[in-house]
Symmetry: C2
Amino acid sequence: MSLRHALLALLTAKPMTGYDLAKVFERSVDYVWHAPHSQIYPELRRMEKGGLVEAELSLRGERGTKRTYSITELGREEVRRWVAAPGPIEHSRDVERLRSTYLELADYADARRYFTAHLEHFSLWEQRWDQHARQIEALETPLIRARLASEGTGDPRAAVAYKVHTYRGLAAQARLEVEWATEGLALVDRLEAASAVDDGELLGGAAPPGAARPTRKRSRPRTGGPR
Amino acid sequence: MSLRHALLALLTAKPMTGYDLAKVFERSVDYVWHAPHSQIYPELRRMEKGGLVEAELSLRGERGTKRTYSITELGREEVRRWVAAPGPIEHSRDVERLRSTYLELADYADARRYFTAHLEHFSLWEQRWDQHARQIEALETPLIRARLASEGTGDPRAAVAYKVHTYRGLAAQARLEVEWATEGLALVDRLEAASAVDDGELLGGAAPPGAARPTRKRSRPRTGGPR
DNA sequence: ACAGCCATGTAAGTCGTTACATGATTGC
DNA sequence: GCAATCATGTAACGACTTACATGGCTGT
Protein backbone atom coordinates (compact mmCIF):
# COMPACT_ATOMS: atom_id res chain seq x y z
CA MET A 1 0.00 0.00 0.00
CA SER A 2 2.72 2.47 -0.75
CA LEU A 3 0.68 4.51 -3.15
CA ARG A 4 -1.66 5.45 -0.33
CA HIS A 5 1.21 6.62 1.83
CA ALA A 6 2.90 8.46 -0.99
CA LEU A 7 -0.32 10.39 -1.57
CA LEU A 8 -0.81 11.12 2.10
CA ALA A 9 2.78 12.30 2.42
CA LEU A 10 2.36 14.68 -0.50
CA LEU A 11 -0.87 16.02 0.96
CA THR A 12 0.92 16.94 4.19
CA ALA A 13 2.52 19.74 2.16
CA LYS A 14 -0.71 21.25 0.83
CA PRO A 15 -4.16 20.31 -0.47
CA MET A 16 -4.15 19.10 -4.05
CA THR A 17 -6.40 17.67 -6.74
CA GLY A 18 -5.91 14.22 -8.20
CA TYR A 19 -4.57 15.91 -11.29
CA ASP A 20 -1.97 17.81 -9.29
CA LEU A 21 -0.89 14.63 -7.57
CA ALA A 22 -0.65 12.77 -10.86
CA LYS A 23 1.56 15.53 -12.18
CA VAL A 24 3.88 15.29 -9.22
CA PHE A 25 4.11 11.58 -9.84
CA GLU A 26 4.31 11.51 -13.59
CA ARG A 27 6.26 14.33 -14.98
CA SER A 28 7.75 16.04 -12.08
CA VAL A 29 10.02 16.53 -9.46
CA ASP A 30 9.16 14.25 -6.58
CA TYR A 31 10.54 11.21 -8.29
CA VAL A 32 10.82 8.26 -6.00
CA TRP A 33 7.56 6.62 -6.88
CA HIS A 34 5.34 6.43 -9.90
CA ALA A 35 1.64 6.03 -10.49
CA PRO A 36 -0.74 6.88 -13.32
CA HIS A 37 -3.90 8.87 -12.73
CA SER A 38 -5.99 5.74 -13.25
CA GLN A 39 -4.59 4.49 -9.99
CA ILE A 40 -4.61 7.79 -8.15
CA TYR A 41 -8.25 8.79 -8.54
CA PRO A 42 -9.77 5.59 -7.16
CA GLU A 43 -7.25 5.54 -4.32
CA LEU A 44 -8.20 9.07 -3.33
CA ARG A 45 -11.86 8.01 -3.27
CA ARG A 46 -11.02 5.03 -1.07
CA MET A 47 -9.02 7.22 1.27
CA GLU A 48 -11.88 9.70 1.42
CA LYS A 49 -14.22 6.90 2.44
CA GLY A 50 -11.71 5.85 5.07
CA GLY A 51 -11.57 9.37 6.46
CA LEU A 52 -7.88 9.84 5.67
CA VAL A 53 -8.53 12.75 3.34
CA GLU A 54 -11.31 15.25 2.77
CA ALA A 55 -12.42 16.70 -0.55
CA GLU A 56 -13.45 20.26 -1.14
CA LEU A 57 -15.64 20.43 -4.23
CA SER A 58 -15.76 23.16 -6.81
CA LEU A 59 -17.87 23.11 -9.94
CA ARG A 60 -16.48 23.25 -13.44
CA GLY A 61 -19.20 23.95 -16.02
CA GLU A 62 -22.46 22.08 -15.85
CA ARG A 63 -21.31 18.64 -14.86
CA GLY A 64 -17.63 18.86 -13.94
CA THR A 65 -16.62 18.81 -10.30
CA LYS A 66 -13.10 19.47 -9.16
CA ARG A 67 -12.13 17.73 -5.95
CA THR A 68 -9.36 19.28 -3.92
CA TYR A 69 -8.16 16.89 -1.27
CA SER A 70 -6.69 17.76 2.10
CA ILE A 71 -5.27 15.35 4.61
CA THR A 72 -7.21 14.82 7.84
CA GLU A 73 -5.81 14.28 11.31
CA LEU A 74 -6.48 10.56 10.85
CA GLY A 75 -4.49 10.68 7.63
CA ARG A 76 -1.62 12.42 9.39
CA GLU A 77 -1.55 9.73 12.00
CA GLU A 78 -1.57 7.03 9.37
CA VAL A 79 1.35 8.50 7.47
CA ARG A 80 3.31 9.06 10.70
CA ARG A 81 2.68 5.47 11.67
CA TRP A 82 3.86 4.30 8.27
CA VAL A 83 7.07 6.33 8.38
CA ALA A 84 7.89 5.20 11.89
CA ALA A 85 7.12 1.49 11.32
CA PRO A 86 10.04 0.02 9.39
CA GLY A 87 8.65 -3.40 8.42
CA PRO A 88 10.76 -5.90 6.51
CA ILE A 89 12.52 -4.59 3.42
CA GLU A 90 11.17 -5.98 0.18
CA HIS A 91 12.98 -8.36 -2.08
CA SER A 92 14.94 -6.83 -4.85
CA ARG A 93 13.41 -7.46 -8.24
CA ASP A 94 15.49 -5.87 -10.91
CA VAL A 95 14.74 -6.69 -14.53
CA GLU A 96 17.94 -5.14 -15.79
CA ARG A 97 20.13 -7.25 -13.53
CA LEU A 98 18.17 -10.29 -14.49
CA ARG A 99 18.85 -9.56 -18.12
CA SER A 100 22.52 -8.77 -17.59
CA THR A 101 23.01 -12.13 -15.90
CA TYR A 102 22.31 -13.84 -19.21
CA LEU A 103 23.98 -11.51 -21.69
CA GLU A 104 26.03 -14.42 -23.03
CA LEU A 105 22.92 -15.43 -24.92
CA ALA A 106 23.17 -12.25 -26.98
CA ASP A 107 25.98 -11.20 -29.29
CA TYR A 108 28.59 -8.57 -28.48
CA ALA A 109 26.77 -5.83 -30.35
CA ASP A 110 23.60 -6.46 -28.35
CA ALA A 111 25.54 -6.56 -25.09
CA ARG A 112 27.08 -3.20 -25.95
CA ARG A 113 23.69 -1.77 -26.78
CA TYR A 114 22.44 -3.02 -23.44
CA PHE A 115 25.18 -1.37 -21.40
CA THR A 116 25.03 1.81 -23.46
CA ALA A 117 21.29 2.17 -22.89
CA HIS A 118 21.81 1.51 -19.19
CA LEU A 119 24.52 4.15 -19.05
CA GLU A 120 22.46 6.76 -20.82
CA HIS A 121 19.39 6.11 -18.74
CA PHE A 122 21.16 6.44 -15.44
CA SER A 123 23.33 9.37 -16.35
CA LEU A 124 20.13 11.21 -17.17
CA TRP A 125 18.62 10.26 -13.84
CA GLU A 126 21.77 11.11 -11.95
CA GLN A 127 21.46 14.64 -13.24
CA ARG A 128 17.77 14.83 -12.44
CA TRP A 129 18.13 13.55 -8.91
CA ASP A 130 21.20 15.61 -8.18
CA GLN A 131 19.56 18.74 -9.48
CA HIS A 132 16.44 18.01 -7.52
CA ALA A 133 18.48 17.60 -4.35
CA ARG A 134 20.10 20.97 -4.97
CA GLN A 135 16.74 22.60 -5.64
CA ILE A 136 15.30 21.29 -2.42
CA GLU A 137 18.37 22.40 -0.51
CA ALA A 138 17.92 25.89 -1.93
CA LEU A 139 14.17 25.77 -1.18
CA GLU A 140 13.45 26.34 -4.84
CA THR A 141 10.63 23.88 -5.48
CA PRO A 142 7.04 24.97 -4.91
CA LEU A 143 6.35 21.81 -2.96
CA ILE A 144 9.09 22.26 -0.36
CA ARG A 145 8.04 25.89 0.12
CA ALA A 146 4.47 24.84 0.66
CA ARG A 147 5.66 22.21 3.08
CA LEU A 148 7.71 24.67 5.12
CA ALA A 149 4.80 27.07 5.21
CA SER A 150 2.44 24.39 6.50
CA GLU A 151 2.04 23.59 10.16
CA GLY A 152 2.45 20.42 12.14
CA THR A 153 4.81 18.66 9.81
CA GLY A 154 7.78 18.27 12.07
CA ASP A 155 11.12 20.10 12.12
CA PRO A 156 11.47 21.99 8.82
CA ARG A 157 15.25 21.64 8.78
CA ALA A 158 14.79 17.88 9.09
CA ALA A 159 12.23 17.93 6.30
CA VAL A 160 14.77 19.49 3.98
CA ALA A 161 17.70 17.43 5.22
CA TYR A 162 15.99 14.05 4.84
CA LYS A 163 14.82 14.87 1.35
CA VAL A 164 18.23 16.08 0.29
CA HIS A 165 19.80 12.96 1.75
CA THR A 166 17.32 10.78 -0.10
CA TYR A 167 17.81 12.42 -3.48
CA ARG A 168 21.57 12.54 -3.10
CA GLY A 169 21.40 8.85 -2.31
CA LEU A 170 19.44 8.22 -5.47
CA ALA A 171 21.95 10.26 -7.46
CA ALA A 172 24.78 8.22 -5.98
CA GLN A 173 22.96 5.03 -6.93
CA ALA A 174 22.61 6.29 -10.48
CA ARG A 175 26.29 7.22 -10.59
CA LEU A 176 27.12 3.68 -9.55
CA GLU A 177 24.92 2.32 -12.33
CA VAL A 178 26.82 4.45 -14.81
CA GLU A 179 30.12 3.07 -13.54
CA TRP A 180 28.77 -0.44 -13.68
CA ALA A 181 27.65 -0.01 -17.27
CA THR A 182 31.00 1.50 -18.22
CA GLU A 183 32.79 -1.48 -16.76
CA GLY A 184 30.31 -3.66 -18.60
CA LEU A 185 31.34 -2.12 -21.89
CA ALA A 186 34.99 -2.75 -21.07
CA LEU A 187 34.09 -6.33 -20.23
CA VAL A 188 32.43 -6.84 -23.60
CA ASP A 189 35.59 -5.53 -25.29
CA ARG A 190 37.74 -7.99 -23.36
CA LEU A 191 35.44 -10.90 -24.11
CA GLU A 192 35.36 -10.08 -27.78
CA ALA A 193 39.13 -9.70 -27.95
CA ALA A 194 39.63 -13.03 -26.17
CA SER A 195 37.22 -14.73 -28.52
CA ALA A 196 38.98 -13.25 -31.56
CA VAL A 197 42.35 -14.52 -30.30
CA ASP A 198 40.89 -18.01 -29.94
CA ASP A 199 39.57 -17.88 -33.46
CA GLY A 200 43.01 -16.81 -34.67
CA GLU A 201 44.67 -19.70 -32.89
CA LEU A 202 42.14 -22.09 -34.31
CA LEU A 203 42.69 -20.73 -37.79
CA GLY A 204 46.42 -21.07 -37.26
CA GLY A 205 45.84 -24.74 -36.55
CA ALA A 206 47.13 -24.86 -32.95
CA ALA A 207 44.58 -25.91 -30.34
CA PRO A 208 44.91 -24.17 -26.97
CA PRO A 209 47.02 -26.39 -24.71
CA GLY A 210 45.71 -28.32 -21.76
CA ALA A 211 42.43 -26.45 -21.41
CA ALA A 212 39.42 -28.66 -20.78
CA ARG A 213 37.38 -25.78 -22.05
CA PRO A 214 33.90 -26.73 -23.23
CA THR A 215 33.25 -26.26 -26.91
CA ARG A 216 32.34 -22.77 -27.81
CA LYS A 217 29.42 -23.22 -30.02
CA ARG A 218 27.50 -20.54 -31.78
CA SER A 219 24.00 -21.82 -32.01
CA ARG A 220 23.32 -19.44 -34.84
CA PRO A 221 25.28 -16.85 -36.80
CA ARG A 222 25.43 -13.35 -35.39
CA THR A 223 23.12 -11.01 -37.12
CA GLY A 224 24.96 -7.73 -36.83
CA GLY A 225 28.12 -5.93 -35.91
CA PRO A 226 31.71 -6.43 -36.98
CA ARG A 227 33.63 -9.08 -35.25
CA MET B 1 6.69 -10.81 -18.10
CA SER B 2 10.04 -11.15 -16.43
CA LEU B 3 9.12 -14.26 -14.50
CA ARG B 4 8.73 -16.12 -17.75
CA HIS B 5 12.16 -15.08 -18.93
CA ALA B 6 13.78 -15.77 -15.60
CA LEU B 7 12.42 -19.32 -15.75
CA LEU B 8 13.50 -19.82 -19.33
CA ALA B 9 16.96 -18.51 -18.56
CA LEU B 10 17.31 -20.93 -15.65
CA LEU B 11 16.15 -23.80 -17.81
CA THR B 12 18.90 -23.10 -20.33
CA ALA B 13 21.27 -24.52 -17.70
CA LYS B 14 19.46 -27.80 -17.19
CA PRO B 15 15.98 -29.33 -16.97
CA MET B 16 14.28 -28.76 -13.63
CA THR B 17 11.00 -29.27 -11.81
CA GLY B 18 8.85 -26.42 -10.57
CA TYR B 19 10.06 -27.23 -7.11
CA ASP B 20 13.69 -26.92 -8.15
CA LEU B 21 12.99 -23.60 -9.78
CA ALA B 22 11.15 -22.34 -6.72
CA LYS B 23 14.14 -23.29 -4.61
CA VAL B 24 16.49 -21.38 -6.83
CA PHE B 25 14.22 -18.37 -6.50
CA GLU B 26 13.33 -18.59 -2.87
CA ARG B 27 16.16 -19.69 -0.74
CA SER B 28 19.09 -19.80 -2.97
CA VAL B 29 21.72 -18.52 -4.88
CA ASP B 30 20.41 -16.98 -8.06
CA TYR B 31 19.12 -13.92 -6.31
CA VAL B 32 18.16 -11.19 -8.66
CA TRP B 33 14.50 -12.02 -8.88
CA HIS B 34 11.95 -13.56 -6.60
CA ALA B 35 8.80 -15.60 -7.08
CA PRO B 36 6.82 -18.02 -4.93
CA HIS B 37 5.85 -21.46 -6.18
CA SER B 38 2.23 -20.34 -6.53
CA GLN B 39 3.38 -18.15 -9.36
CA ILE B 40 5.89 -20.56 -10.84
CA TYR B 41 3.69 -23.63 -11.38
CA PRO B 42 0.97 -21.90 -13.41
CA GLU B 43 3.56 -20.03 -15.44
CA LEU B 44 5.29 -23.30 -16.33
CA ARG B 45 1.95 -24.68 -17.49
CA ARG B 46 1.32 -21.63 -19.61
CA MET B 47 4.79 -21.88 -21.13
CA GLU B 48 4.23 -25.55 -21.84
CA LYS B 49 1.04 -24.69 -23.70
CA GLY B 50 2.95 -22.08 -25.63
CA GLY B 51 5.61 -24.60 -26.60
CA LEU B 52 8.43 -22.79 -24.81
CA VAL B 53 9.12 -25.70 -22.48
CA GLU B 54 8.43 -29.43 -22.48
CA ALA B 55 7.60 -31.56 -19.46
CA GLU B 56 8.86 -35.05 -18.87
CA LEU B 57 6.51 -36.84 -16.50
CA SER B 58 7.41 -39.31 -13.80
CA LEU B 59 4.97 -40.88 -11.40
CA ARG B 60 5.11 -40.52 -7.66
CA GLY B 61 2.80 -43.00 -5.92
CA GLU B 62 -0.71 -43.49 -7.19
CA ARG B 63 -1.69 -39.97 -8.07
CA GLY B 64 1.41 -37.82 -7.92
CA THR B 65 3.15 -36.76 -11.11
CA LYS B 66 6.48 -35.03 -11.17
CA ARG B 67 7.01 -32.75 -14.12
CA THR B 68 10.56 -32.06 -15.18
CA TYR B 69 10.69 -29.17 -17.59
CA SER B 70 13.21 -28.63 -20.34
CA ILE B 71 13.45 -25.61 -22.59
CA THR B 72 12.56 -26.07 -26.25
CA GLU B 73 14.19 -24.45 -29.25
CA LEU B 74 11.29 -21.99 -29.32
CA GLY B 75 11.97 -21.18 -25.69
CA ARG B 76 15.64 -20.60 -26.42
CA GLU B 77 14.74 -18.20 -29.17
CA GLU B 78 12.36 -16.36 -26.90
CA VAL B 79 14.93 -15.90 -24.15
CA ARG B 80 17.58 -14.84 -26.65
CA ARG B 81 15.18 -12.31 -28.09
CA TRP B 82 14.42 -11.01 -24.61
CA VAL B 83 18.07 -10.61 -23.66
CA ALA B 84 18.93 -8.89 -26.91
CA ALA B 85 15.94 -6.53 -26.92
CA PRO B 86 16.63 -3.78 -24.40
CA GLY B 87 13.25 -2.03 -24.22
CA PRO B 88 12.76 1.03 -22.02
CA ILE B 89 14.04 0.79 -18.46
CA GLU B 90 11.29 0.71 -15.87
CA HIS B 91 10.53 3.48 -13.46
CA SER B 92 12.18 3.21 -10.11
CA ARG B 93 9.75 2.45 -7.35
CA ASP B 94 11.56 2.24 -4.06
CA VAL B 95 9.50 2.08 -0.88
CA GLU B 96 12.49 2.72 1.34
CA ARG B 97 13.43 5.93 -0.43
CA LEU B 98 9.83 7.00 -0.34
CA ARG B 99 9.81 6.51 3.39
CA SER B 100 13.15 8.21 3.95
CA THR B 101 11.91 11.30 2.14
CA TYR B 102 9.45 11.89 4.94
CA LEU B 103 11.44 10.87 8.00
CA GLU B 104 10.80 14.27 9.56
CA LEU B 105 7.36 12.95 10.42
CA ALA B 106 8.94 10.43 12.78
CA ASP B 107 11.03 11.13 15.86
CA TYR B 108 14.80 10.75 16.05
CA ALA B 109 14.64 7.29 17.61
CA ASP B 110 12.45 6.02 14.77
CA ALA B 111 14.70 7.61 12.18
CA ARG B 112 17.69 5.84 13.75
CA ARG B 113 15.82 2.56 13.75
CA TYR B 114 15.04 3.10 10.09
CA PHE B 115 18.63 3.68 9.04
CA THR B 116 19.90 0.90 11.27
CA ALA B 117 17.53 -1.62 9.75
CA HIS B 118 18.53 -0.45 6.30
CA LEU B 119 22.18 -0.82 7.14
CA GLU B 120 21.78 -4.30 8.53
CA HIS B 121 19.68 -5.49 5.64
CA PHE B 122 22.09 -4.34 3.00
CA SER B 123 25.25 -5.39 4.73
CA LEU B 124 23.80 -8.88 4.83
CA TRP B 125 23.01 -8.73 1.14
CA GLU B 126 26.36 -7.28 0.27
CA GLN B 127 27.95 -10.37 1.76
CA ARG B 128 25.56 -12.72 0.00
CA TRP B 129 26.01 -11.14 -3.39
CA ASP B 130 29.75 -10.80 -3.06
CA GLN B 131 30.10 -14.39 -1.98
CA HIS B 132 27.87 -15.53 -4.79
CA ALA B 133 30.00 -13.64 -7.30
CA ARG B 134 33.11 -15.35 -5.93
CA GLN B 135 31.44 -18.76 -6.07
CA ILE B 136 30.45 -18.30 -9.67
CA GLU B 137 33.91 -17.10 -10.56
CA ALA B 138 35.35 -20.25 -8.98
CA LEU B 139 32.70 -22.38 -10.73
CA GLU B 140 31.53 -23.64 -7.38
CA THR B 141 27.75 -23.50 -7.78
CA PRO B 142 25.92 -26.52 -9.22
CA LEU B 143 24.00 -24.28 -11.57
CA ILE B 144 27.00 -22.69 -13.26
CA ARG B 145 28.59 -26.12 -13.66
CA ALA B 146 25.45 -27.45 -15.26
CA ARG B 147 25.38 -24.43 -17.50
CA LEU B 148 28.95 -24.87 -18.67
CA ALA B 149 28.29 -28.54 -19.33
CA SER B 150 25.26 -27.77 -21.49
CA GLU B 151 25.47 -26.99 -25.17
CA GLY B 152 24.35 -24.08 -27.23
CA THR B 153 24.39 -21.48 -24.51
CA GLY B 154 26.98 -19.14 -25.90
CA ASP B 155 30.58 -18.52 -24.86
CA PRO B 156 31.11 -20.11 -21.43
CA ARG B 157 33.67 -17.51 -20.38
CA ALA B 158 31.11 -14.83 -21.15
CA ALA B 159 28.47 -16.73 -19.17
CA VAL B 160 30.69 -16.61 -16.10
CA ALA B 161 31.93 -13.08 -16.68
CA TYR B 162 28.48 -11.52 -17.11
CA LYS B 163 27.16 -13.21 -14.00
CA VAL B 164 30.15 -12.17 -11.94
CA HIS B 165 29.78 -8.62 -13.22
CA THR B 166 26.10 -8.61 -12.32
CA TYR B 167 26.54 -9.91 -8.80
CA ARG B 168 29.52 -7.66 -8.14
CA GLY B 169 27.32 -4.81 -9.29
CA LEU B 170 24.63 -5.83 -6.85
CA ALA B 171 27.20 -6.07 -4.05
CA ALA B 172 28.45 -2.60 -4.89
CA GLN B 173 24.87 -1.32 -4.79
CA ALA B 174 24.43 -2.86 -1.37
CA ARG B 175 27.69 -1.32 -0.17
CA LEU B 176 26.40 2.05 -1.28
CA GLU B 177 23.18 1.49 0.64
CA VAL B 178 25.22 0.76 3.75
CA GLU B 179 27.15 4.01 3.30
CA TRP B 180 23.95 5.91 2.73
CA ALA B 181 22.42 4.53 5.90
CA THR B 182 25.57 5.32 7.87
CA GLU B 183 25.46 8.90 6.66
CA GLY B 184 21.79 8.91 7.53
CA LEU B 185 22.59 8.02 11.12
CA ALA B 186 25.12 10.84 11.26
CA LEU B 187 22.49 13.17 9.86
CA VAL B 188 20.03 12.23 12.58
CA ASP B 189 22.71 12.99 15.17
CA ARG B 190 23.31 16.40 13.67
CA LEU B 191 19.62 17.20 13.47
CA GLU B 192 19.08 16.18 17.06
CA ALA B 193 22.05 18.19 18.25
CA ALA B 194 20.87 21.26 16.35
CA SER B 195 17.41 20.91 17.78
CA ALA B 196 18.81 20.59 21.33
CA VAL B 197 20.85 23.76 20.83
CA ASP B 198 17.74 25.63 19.74
CA ASP B 199 15.87 24.49 22.79
CA GLY B 200 18.77 25.67 24.93
CA GLU B 201 18.71 29.09 23.32
CA LEU B 202 15.00 29.35 23.75
CA LEU B 203 15.29 28.35 27.36
CA GLY B 204 18.03 30.96 27.76
CA GLY B 205 15.54 33.54 26.53
CA ALA B 206 17.39 34.78 23.41
CA ALA B 207 15.58 34.26 20.13
CA PRO B 208 17.87 33.43 17.19
CA PRO B 209 18.64 36.65 15.33
CA GLY B 210 17.34 37.59 11.93
CA ALA B 211 16.19 34.14 10.84
CA ALA B 212 12.79 34.07 9.24
CA ARG B 213 12.70 30.43 10.20
CA PRO B 214 9.21 28.93 10.25
CA THR B 215 7.94 27.88 13.63
CA ARG B 216 9.11 24.50 14.68
CA LYS B 217 6.02 22.91 16.02
CA ARG B 218 5.74 19.49 17.49
CA SER B 219 2.25 18.33 16.70
CA ARG B 220 2.44 15.83 19.48
CA PRO B 221 4.95 14.88 22.13
CA ARG B 222 7.60 12.40 21.16
CA THR B 223 6.95 8.99 22.48
CA GLY B 224 10.43 7.64 22.97
CA GLY B 225 14.11 8.42 23.08
CA PRO B 226 16.02 10.91 25.17
CA ARG B 227 16.20 14.41 23.96
C1' DA C 1 5.42 -42.80 13.91
C1' DC C 2 7.07 -38.54 13.02
C1' DA C 3 9.73 -34.81 11.09
C1' DG C 4 11.47 -32.74 7.24
C1' DC C 5 11.82 -32.24 2.73
C1' DC C 6 9.95 -33.17 -2.05
C1' DA C 7 6.25 -31.93 -5.07
C1' DT C 8 2.13 -29.63 -6.99
C1' DG C 9 -1.56 -27.20 -7.10
C1' DT C 10 -6.00 -23.55 -6.16
C1' DA C 11 -8.26 -19.23 -4.63
C1' DA C 12 -9.02 -14.63 -3.16
C1' DG C 13 -7.51 -10.36 -3.22
C1' DT C 14 -4.44 -6.30 -4.17
C1' DC C 15 -1.51 -3.70 -7.05
C1' DG C 16 -0.26 -1.89 -11.36
C1' DT C 17 -0.49 -1.11 -16.61
C1' DT C 18 -2.71 0.22 -20.75
C1' DA C 19 -6.35 1.65 -23.19
C1' DC C 20 -10.74 3.77 -23.56
C1' DA C 21 -13.67 7.77 -22.67
C1' DT C 22 -15.35 12.43 -21.66
C1' DG C 23 -15.55 17.18 -21.01
C1' DA C 24 -13.92 22.20 -19.35
C1' DT C 25 -10.75 26.09 -19.41
C1' DT C 26 -7.14 29.06 -21.23
C1' DG C 27 -4.42 31.36 -24.46
C1' DC C 28 -3.47 32.28 -29.24
C1' DG D 1 -11.70 27.87 -33.91
C1' DC D 2 -7.94 25.06 -32.21
C1' DA D 3 -4.41 23.24 -29.34
C1' DA D 4 -2.70 22.52 -24.97
C1' DT D 5 -3.58 21.74 -20.55
C1' DC D 6 -6.82 20.94 -16.71
C1' DA D 7 -9.70 17.47 -14.77
C1' DT D 8 -11.89 12.90 -13.76
C1' DG D 9 -13.14 8.73 -14.39
C1' DT D 10 -13.94 3.16 -16.10
C1' DA D 11 -12.50 -1.45 -17.79
C1' DA D 12 -9.71 -5.29 -18.87
C1' DC D 13 -5.95 -7.62 -18.02
C1' DG D 14 -1.69 -9.15 -16.01
C1' DA D 15 1.56 -9.50 -11.98
C1' DC D 16 2.20 -10.56 -7.29
C1' DT D 17 0.98 -11.89 -2.39
C1' DT D 18 -0.92 -14.74 1.09
C1' DA D 19 -3.31 -18.39 2.53
C1' DC D 20 -5.30 -22.81 1.89
C1' DA D 21 -4.81 -27.66 0.54
C1' DT D 22 -2.93 -32.21 -0.55
C1' DG D 23 0.03 -35.97 -0.70
C1' DG D 24 4.70 -38.76 -1.42
C1' DC D 25 9.39 -40.01 -0.03
C1' DT D 26 13.39 -40.58 3.28
C1' DG D 27 15.73 -41.14 7.30
C1' DT D 28 15.56 -41.81 12.41
